[in-house]
């Protein structure tokens, strides 16, 4: 592998999905069922290329960064240009594999999951454009390009959520997703504007190096922090962080594989990737805000997840919660662990979604078979006892659940444990003790609600057991991805030591970059943080194991052994439950405030425009008109009157004089002579 080859491969990886999109959008009708094969095949090839890049990069070109840049727009003015380019470092290589792998497996899963859909080929086309945009984000080497693809994933997300656009809820959800993302994007764009007006370039490397030379926006660290936070806004939108997390649960209106791909593994992780990518520009203040946003998100959504019955909603909130975790981790300075959690989470959360997809698929079919259109196939209260019917799904689901709960021997344990250690270290260094408290609480809650889902779905038995009669395991296209993801959720892929990830390849490949901000506003140094993490490692393991175990125990006690009555607790705190079940009323809040305000303003302004501004115009017109009318009257009566009077006078005289006009030559001659005589007499 040479540098050129790397870049060529990367370019190929970027554009093959686009080709897939174009082919399927134009020839999808003709290809019909074969479009799935085309899409999957093309994505499969990108997976291969990604793997090649990944292995050679990690093994042989560990410390190198490959970059290819070209000028996209040249303003022809003092070297002011906008470049586009791709960059391959270790993080990119890892993300390439994550994205293409999940994408490929989701393609595979979708082949049978989406079978019979009216827009089968278009679905795969949209998956293609999504992969293209996501890979664009991953490969981008500058803010501009990342922003471009940032919006494009928004588009593909919009298209895929709205796949079943005949449903109002799906159409609404897609619109909501796009607009909420736009809000974040605008923040990001503002950040980009600050950076552009400061540095005159948008390339990551150039900005970082200029910044470490002491160039900061508008000579003010406040603006520097603001720039960082505004860029972070993009991540808040895309990674569904508080307060813009509301779109993600609604996005579950899309097909389940899409949820797995976009809304669990890749796109929502793009925010985390972005934070990691531009990590050097964050000041300490910015990082603290990021950490708190992450923590709040993690906590809020975990509480909501507990109170949900829809299997996809639970998973969605769990995703939000985990994303908050990652963001929090990056905020506290646990760069590697945050990013690591992104990768491990991608595997097991995609697996969870696909698993739930498998269940929903089965439920849907059996309900359809029973002509039952009232029962919600996604409600976990309608499930139960699927363990024996769908063994592969169950066992893989179990592995995923263990991983997300942070049980040893899984990948989740490795990453989560490190994040927890990071929060402890952070509180040691800065005194923000609330962060680790939240982190551990959320860890316990996660274990609790994930096992709740698992138990209610697969274990025990359902009262209405004939309803699940005839349920059977999903076809191989669906189970294979599950098995692969399950394998990837185990520790040995990442580290030889099941208790400590820092010994694995990942920790040597992804290293927290040096900050570029001035020293007085930068966060604690890498060394001190590492030391604190090391110091807290044992404590974190112990505590996290304890808490995860506790969560699992309570879950089993409640739902499996029924020692604790869930209903009783619900009845004790009905308001709290309602509050959680209604997702803290965020949607309602936004509806009543932001949306209401916008719509009212719009209506008021439209009224203002129509009545006042246009009214003024028309008023001016009518004033002019009445003035004109008045002056017309004046003109008619007075001015024209005078004129007419004159004319009348002359007419009168004319009438008299007319009698002289006899038409006889002699008369005229007589007058002529008289005239001549008169002249003679007068002038004599």
């Amino acid at each position: 592998m040479t540098e050129t080859l790397f870049l060529q491969f990367a370019t190929a990886i970027l554009f093959i999905p686009l080709i897939s999109f174009l082919v399927l959008i134009f020839f999808g009708k003709k290809l019909s069922d074969k479009s799935a094969i085309v899409g999957s095949g093309l994505i499969g090839s990108t997976l291969l290329l990604s793997l090649i890049i990944f292995f050679s990069k990690i093994n042989y070109f560990h410390n190198q960064t490959f970059e290819y840049t070209f000028t996209w727009v040249d303003f022809g003015y003092y070297d002011s240009k906008i470049n586009l380019g791709i960059m391959i470092d270790n993080m990119t290589a890892i993300m390439l594999v994550v994205v293409t792998l999940v994408s490929f497996l989701v393609h595979l899963f979708s082949i049978s999951y989406m079978k019979g859909d009216i827009r089968y080929s278009r679905y795969f086309a949209f998956l293609g454009i999504f992969s293209f945009s996501m890979l664009g984000i991953v490969l981008a080497d500058n803010f501009f390009m990342i922003y471009v693809f940032w919006e494009l994933v928004g588009l593909s997300s919009y298209l895929l959520i709205g796949h079943w656009y005949e449903k109002t809820s799906a159409a609404n959800a897609s619109k909501k997703a796009f607009i909420v993302n736009r809000v974040g994007d605008v923040g990001m764009f503002t950040g980009i504007m600050i950076l552009w007006s400061t540095f005159g370039t948008l390339d990551f490397e150039k900005i970082f190096s200029l910044m470490s030379l002491g160039v900061i926006p508008f000579e003010s660290t406040v603006w520097l922090t603001a720039a960082g936070l505004l860029i972070f806004c993009g991540a808040v939108g895309k990674s569904a962080q508080f307060p813009l997390h509301v779109w993600l649960p609604d996005a579950m209106e899309g097909p389940t594989p899409v949820s797995a791909l976009i809304h669990a593994a890749t796109m929502v992780a793009a925010g985390v990737y972005l934070i990691a990518r531009v990590f050097p520009i964050f000041t300490a203040d910015a990082l603290i805000v990021i950490a708190y946003i992450g923590a709040i998100t993690a906590f809020v959504s975990a509480t909501i997840a507990i109170a949900q019955y829809d299997i996809k909603k639970v998973l969605a909130y769990s995703t939000v919660s985990q994303l908050g975790y990652m963001v929090m981790s990056l905020g506290v300075g646990g760069f590697t662990s945050g990013f690591f959690h992104l990768v491990t989470h991608a595997a097991f959360k995609a697996g969870l979604f696909l698993g739930s997809g498998s269940v929903i698929f089965a439920m849907h079919h059996v309900l359809h078979h029973h002509n039952d259109h009232h029962t919600d196939p996604q409600d976990i209260r309608n499930m139960g006892g699927l363990k024996n019917k769908m063994p592969i799904t169950f066992w893989t689901f179990l592995i995923f659940t263990l991983a997300i709960s942070g049980v040893p021997l899984t990948s989740g344990f490795l990453s989560k444990d490190d994040i927890l250690a990071g929060t402890l270290a952070f509180s040691d260094l800065t005194g923000h003790t609330i962060i680790p408290i939240i982190a551990f609480t959320v860890a316990g809650m996660t274990a609790f609600y994930m096992f709740r889902v698992l138990i209610l779905t697969f274990m025990g038995s359902h009262a209405d057991s004939h309803r699940i009669d005839g349920i059977h395991e999903s076809p191989w296209q669906m189970t294979t991805p599950l098995i692969i993801f399950a394998a990837l959720s185990l520790f040995f892929f990442y580290s030889p030591n099941p208790t400590n990830a820092s010994e694995g390849w990942f920790y040597s490949a992804v290293v927290r970059p040096e900050t570029a901000v001035p020293e007085n506003v930068s966060a604690s140094s890498i060394e001190s943080f590492e030391e604190a993490v090391h110091h807290n490692h044992g404590k974190a393991i112990t505590l996290s194991l304890l808490i995860a175990g506790l969560g699992i125990l309570i879950s089993f006690a409640t739902y499996y052994w029924k020692k604790i009555s869930a209903d009783k607790i619900l009845n004790m705190f009905p308001k709290t439950f309602k509050f959680l079940n209604m997702k803290w009323y965020f949607d309602e809040l936004y509806d009543k405030t932001v949306v209401w305000f916008t719509m009212t303003t719009a209506k008021v302004l439209a009224w203002f425009d129509f009545k006042i501004i246009d009214g003024l115009v028309n008023g001016t017109a009518s004033v002019t008109k009445s003035t004109a009318f008045g002056s017309g009257k004046f003109d008619n009566v007075v001015v024209d009157g005078i004129v007419n009077l004159t004319a009348y006078t002359f007419g009168f005289f004319g009438l008299i004089i007319r009698t002289i006009q006899t038409g006889k030559v002699q008369t005229y001659l007589a007058f002529a002579i008289v005239g001549a005589l008169m002249i003679f007499f007068f002038f004599n």
Binding site: V186, T190, K603, V617
Partner: protein
């Protein structure tokens, strides 16, 4: 560079080919509708071909703006020359055509949009002869505005445009067409009067030596007006930063603002758009609105750079108001065309903002946005026209679920909508981003506030998309037919341009790069002040 055909300059060809077409149309008996249509189409196609010739032969390195030597395809003849009038002196008006980077994208746009407009007028049946004749006359007026460098000529073309527009709206329009046409006409005429006043004031203030005799002669030459040295001492507009210059600038500004339209002079736009037939809406949004901002760039700002800088902040603020106000008003509309009309207000605000930035990115963004808005809004209006032709309603709430019924149409529509809301990969995004990037360097808070418009635009565009295309198809539209080939021919080229320029904007950007930089330098430049110091 001298592109002559039959000894007549290419710009004259560009401008007057529609007139030739018009005469031909008038000579054809009115029963031969097809012939009339094809003649009109032929005229615009020839114009389009000439515009391609201009595009390929245009020297990208020459800036133009305030330098007659770097203007291209120049044609300069004495037009009206009345020697020694009592108390008035010599009146000398030139037929002075030329283009630079500011005008060349507009010239291309005009040729393209005229072509599309003729195509989209194919279904007109009511007194077709008059319609196409007026349409072609309008074409001449528009083209003339963009190529003339003599202020008087500019004004003449500016006024020529009004008349056909008035009749096209007033005769072929919707139910309230008379109201809309009169409103449009009077409003624009009001602006023209202000422009005329400034034009006269400029005429009496500026004089240049005659080429042959060397005597000082008053002139309408715009480029001469840009040079402070040409102002006669003690004339009304002599000197920089005098109050008369500010007043003159504001006069010109209002004249152009009405055309843009800038808040609060925008209310003629929704009415005119709603009532105008599709092709006229397309021209109105695609080309006419650009004349306002073009006028600001070509006339107002370079002639009064001092005043332009003095009023930069208000200009940016108006840009902000246009963006946000237009977007909010659009959100509240239930009429498809009105919505797009207000979205035009919003999008033109971006041009103003970029222009006010007075730096390279902003200016390029603004100029590019003018071009892009032309193509994108043309698409949007064509789209409305297509559906209006079929259903005879424009109420957004009457539709739904058309995506399945009209898939090709919907695909084009999605492109247009996303281009309008500034999706990367489509041309609207590029210009929007450039404008904002530029504006931020000059006006931090206004720009940040204006970004609100990005969200709002996404909001109303997607909401519209949902109301029209998503959801269940109402029973009454079950028989709608998909877009036909003629409609495809007019929409697809626009869509391709939108996508191509979104991915790689350089083909248009490098046309205007040099001029935009020159314009910015010139308006900002201290050289202004030094010349005046003499």
């Amino acid at each position: 560079m001298n592109n002559n055909f039959l000894n007549i300059g290419i710009l004259t060809w560009m401008t007057f080919i529609p007139v030739v077409g018009m005469i031909a149309v008038l000579l054809v008996p009115k029963e031969q509708k097809t012939t009339i249509r094809w003649i009109s189409l032929g005229a615009t196609i020839v114009q389009l071909i000439f515009s391609v010739i201009i595009y390929t032969n245009f020297d990208r390195s020459l800036a133009g703006v305030n330098n007659a030597a770097t203007m291209q395809f120049v044609e300069r003849y004495s037009w009206i020359d009345i020697k020694s009038v009592e108390w008035f002196g010599r009146i000398h008006i030139e037929y002075f055509l030329g283009i630079d980077g500011i005008s060349v994208p507009m010239v291309l746009l005009t040729a393209l949009i005229s072509f599309v407009a003729v195509l989209s007028s194919w279904s007109i049946e009511k007194s077709i002869k008059g319609y196409f004749a007026l349409l072609l006359l309008l074409d001449t007026g528009m083209m003339g505005v963009f190529v003339s460098l003599d202020f008087f000529l500019f004004y003449v073309f500016w006024e020529i445009m009004l008349l056909p527009m008035y009749f096209l709206i007033g005769i072929w329009g919707g139910p309230r067409r008379e109201y809309a046409a009169i409103k449009f006409f009077i409003y624009t005429l009001f602006g023209s009067v202000l422009m005329l006043l400034v034009l006269i004031a400029l005429y009496f203030s500026v004089s240049i030596p005659d080429a042959s005799t060397g005597e000082l002669v008053h002139t309408f030459d715009m480029i001469a007006m840009m040079n402070p040295a040409n102002y006669e001492a003690n004339s009304l507009l002599f000197g920089l930063n005098t109050s008369w210059r500010y007043i003159a600038y504001v006069g010109l500004f209002i004249g152009f603002a009405i055309k843009v339209p800038i808040f609060p002079f925008h209310t003629w736009l929704p009415d005119a758009h709603v009532e105008a037939p599709t092709a006229i809406s397309v021209i109105l949004a695609g080309v006419l609105l650009k004349m306002g901002t073009y006028g600001l760039m070509r006339v107002a700002m370079p002639i009064f750079p001092d005043a332009a800088i003095y009023y930069l902040y208000p200009l940016a603020f108006l840009g902000f108001i246009n963006i946000v106000y237009g977007a909010l008003c659009a959100m509240a509309q239930t009429d498809f065309k009105k919505l797009i009309a207000y979205s035009s207000v919003s999008h033109m605000g971006i041009v103003l903002l970029g222009m006010a930035a007075l730096n390279t990115q902003g200016m390029i963004g603004a100029m590019f946005q003018m071009f892009n808005h032309g193509t994108i809004t043309a698409m949007l209006f064509l789209i409305v026209g297509v559906i209006y032709d079929r259903t005879h309603t424009r109420g957004l709430n009457d539709f739904g679920g058309l995506m399945n019924q009209m898939p090709k149409y919907s695909a084009i529509m999605v492109i247009a909508f996303f281009a309008a809301l500034g999706l990367p990969g489509l041309s609207g995004f590029v210009s929007e981003v450039f404008s904002f990037l530029g504006a931020f360097q000059t006006f931090r808070w206004i720009t940040i506030a204006s970004t609100l418009g990005i969200v709002l635009t996404a909001g109303y565009m997607l909401w519209t998309l949902q109301r029209v295309f998503l959801g269940e198809l109402p029973e009454k539209w079950k028989s709608l037919t998909d877009i036909n080939n003629r409609e495809l021919i007019m929409l697809v080229p626009l869509a391709i341009i939108v996508i191509l320029l979104g991915v790689y904007p350089t083909p248009i950007l490098d046309l205007m790069n040099a001029s935009a930089n020159e314009l910015v330098d010139f308006i900002k430049g201290e050289n202004n002040l030094t010349i005046l110091g003499q």
